[in-house]
Symmetry: C3
Subunit: 332 residues, 3 copies
Amino acid sequence: MHTLGEIAKLVNAELVGDGELKITSLASIDCAKSDQLSYVVSEKYREQLSSTQASAVIISKSLQKFCNTNALIVDDVYLAFAQITHLFKHKVTHTNGIHASANTNNATVAPNCCIGKQVSIGTDTTIGANTVIEDNTTIGANCTIGSNISILQGTIIGNNVVVESGAVIGSEGFGNARDKYKRWHSIAHLGNVVIGDDVNIGANTAIDRGTLENTYINRGVRLDNLVHIAHNVTIGEDTAIAACTGIAGSTRIGKRCMIGGMVGVVGHLNICDDVVVNAKSTVDKNITISGVYTGIMPLMPHKKWQIVGVWLTKLDKITQYLNIKLTHLKGK
Amino acid sequence: MHTLGEIAKLVNAELVGDGELKITSLASIDCAKSDQLSYVVSEKYREQLSSTQASAVIISKSLQKFCNTNALIVDDVYLAFAQITHLFKHKVTHTNGIHASANTNNATVAPNCCIGKQVSIGTDTTIGANTVIEDNTTIGANCTIGSNISILQGTIIGNNVVVESGAVIGSEGFGNARDKYKRWHSIAHLGNVVIGDDVNIGANTAIDRGTLENTYINRGVRLDNLVHIAHNVTIGEDTAIAACTGIAGSTRIGKRCMIGGMVGVVGHLNICDDVVVNAKSTVDKNITISGVYTGIMPLMPHKKWQIVGVWLTKLDKITQYLNIKLTHLKGK
Amino acid sequence: MHTLGEIAKLVNAELVGDGELKITSLASIDCAKSDQLSYVVSEKYREQLSSTQASAVIISKSLQKFCNTNALIVDDVYLAFAQITHLFKHKVTHTNGIHASANTNNATVAPNCCIGKQVSIGTDTTIGANTVIEDNTTIGANCTIGSNISILQGTIIGNNVVVESGAVIGSEGFGNARDKYKRWHSIAHLGNVVIGDDVNIGANTAIDRGTLENTYINRGVRLDNLVHIAHNVTIGEDTAIAACTGIAGSTRIGKRCMIGGMVGVVGHLNICDDVVVNAKSTVDKNITISGVYTGIMPLMPHKKWQIVGVWLTKLDKITQYLNIKLTHLKGK
């Protein structure tokens, strides 16, 4: 808990309002409630700004006129937000063995595990050797957690979940603010990872925690080995994602999707239910219609590729040479 | 060991034959021997079904007429198979330090390692700190196993093998059966990983165990970092696979191949000996002739890409507009 | 330390010069100094060979005439070099807990960590549970090192560095020499990993040590999860690399670059400062002009892809059919 005045000082903000106000946590402008601090980076969100329940907001001078609550006025809102997140990061403690406050029921906990404060583990769950489970994590019943796994603070895992060895759950998201010197400032990710029942997570897969809200891996999801799930992603129920695939930040994937191996899905996309994406595809736009999608280059002998590749990079010139306009291709 | 009757009850199968029959293990229809249970999912395998040595098979009603042995009749054969695999999964135990039944010869075992039951480690082998080696694993002589590695039950590793830190060997394969509600049911993978002599395995690489038979990494193979090898894959002798590449299930790669970085090879393919696949390629068909192959898009400035990309997606219309038929291109 | 005579014997080399000469280490032909052994694989480097400061060089007969120092004459220079590297590899020791010779200042070291000989850890640094830090590693002040991490011998890490769980730093590079039987012989990588201040490294990311010189991750760099950094790579200050990307050996990436997720950068390239590479691109040539680059295939419905894909592989024939020459496209 910090006062708005303390926070203003940290980021050299102009304080407009009550410096004694106690800020309990941070939240996005839509979700923010009383005693929370939020932020708005552009005029696009002027209406959410005007109607927010947040007790205070970080904004630029130009947005002040849309603000009806306490404000921290700064030049670079996103940078100030990044710096402030670190004030609210829960400090990890380190436990040797199982902390006295942890409730492991009848779970089997293998040697060299570290089980932190207030951890709860359900009945008949097994935790493999050398696995680390940080403070305030909840794991359901009948789960099989492998060895050399790190499950970081505040993670919530349902029942009948299988996590293969080497997985990392709850790592920091790849969120950074860039200052005027083009240097990066990390955002402390304050959300958690929430995993539903009957989920399987593959070996050496990494799932990042959310920035302010959570990352969700919903019931019945299957994640293969070496999969990357970024911050604030939601994976819908019964969706399967094959090995080496990466889902970038804040993307939402629907239910019953099948995403092939080594697929890259860029950030902030929405993929609807029942979509199949073939292996190695790049998903660079929303998918709103169920079906099978592909974005790859066919395999061919290298000698042939050397010829084809040249023409590929000249396609625009070829069509120009042929005086083909897009309109010519209408309805073709 | 379970009786056929118990198994039938588990999956609500119609039992045709001897319910008292003792089933020792599962096997594919080709490899199955007496006292083993197998399964056939389609009429394509009717001949193997008729001639199988298996003491019993899981089949659908429609295949019963081709069956000359005990049968479990179910609606969804693959789903029933998936559920039955869990009956035969060897339960992992957890050992603190080195189990009394393990034979580590003069191997150097670093602190915080867990070495399970009946593990055998050859002379002059080194096991790094915090590495977990599960029950019934065999590791040869003169191996260098790094730290924070998980080598899971039943793995067989030859001599002079190097495994870099963070690798996982013997994780469950990504095999799941989908029920009529489109929910996934895991297959318990009962095969092992078998690694030949003189193999090197990179950091944070993951190798899945086989479903019923084994996954094979043959003599002299080189695997770089963050490589994914799926269940039932075979990598031929002296083949090198660069970082971030993924080989999907049941694919067989020949000898002396060189697979570049971030290549994706889809499942159930055969790649012949002495094939070179350039970095980032997608291999989506069998390769039967040695040579160099590529399947990628050339790099270009984004502005150029925006123009070229449009035409790429219109290639079919361009050729239609030009009234070019594939036949026109014969012999060109 | 080995005499040149001992080394000659190891690789069956013809020794030209002083067999009693003491060789302290290996170095590349440009960097080599007195008491060091170097190697030259082709006539391309004849001038560096003639002017090298190395006390001895590994060369083929054909290069002897350009050599003004002690020489080991072999048929396969690169193979001989690979075999010799193992003579100079520092043997790792294993420590239970914190070695007496380590200086951990007031750092917090969690349970089950192994901190090797002569390790130095700066003030206010935190080391997570089950993390292994090998001999002669230096970690600066105010760093946050996660759990289940392996930081291998001789690594140098600056101040304010964050390493997420499961990362491996200092693994062997993927350098192998192939003999006449097409078998691989590993090169023992003798360089280290040097990480500057204010660097963040993601979960399950792997960074290989250099072959003879070091791998450099410079100040302010951000690496996401599951990133692969190969041997001898240099990542320039304030460059950010998103998840699942791989940078192949000896490539140099400039300052303030932004490399998207699942990008593959091939080896021995130079990428200049302030380059943006879009997600999933393949970088297969040097980039000498700052800007935004892309090399991917647009996503499309699979049915459309099946049509477009056919034409893609016939582009050369289409242009031939149309009798379009590259010259026709000049200036288009």
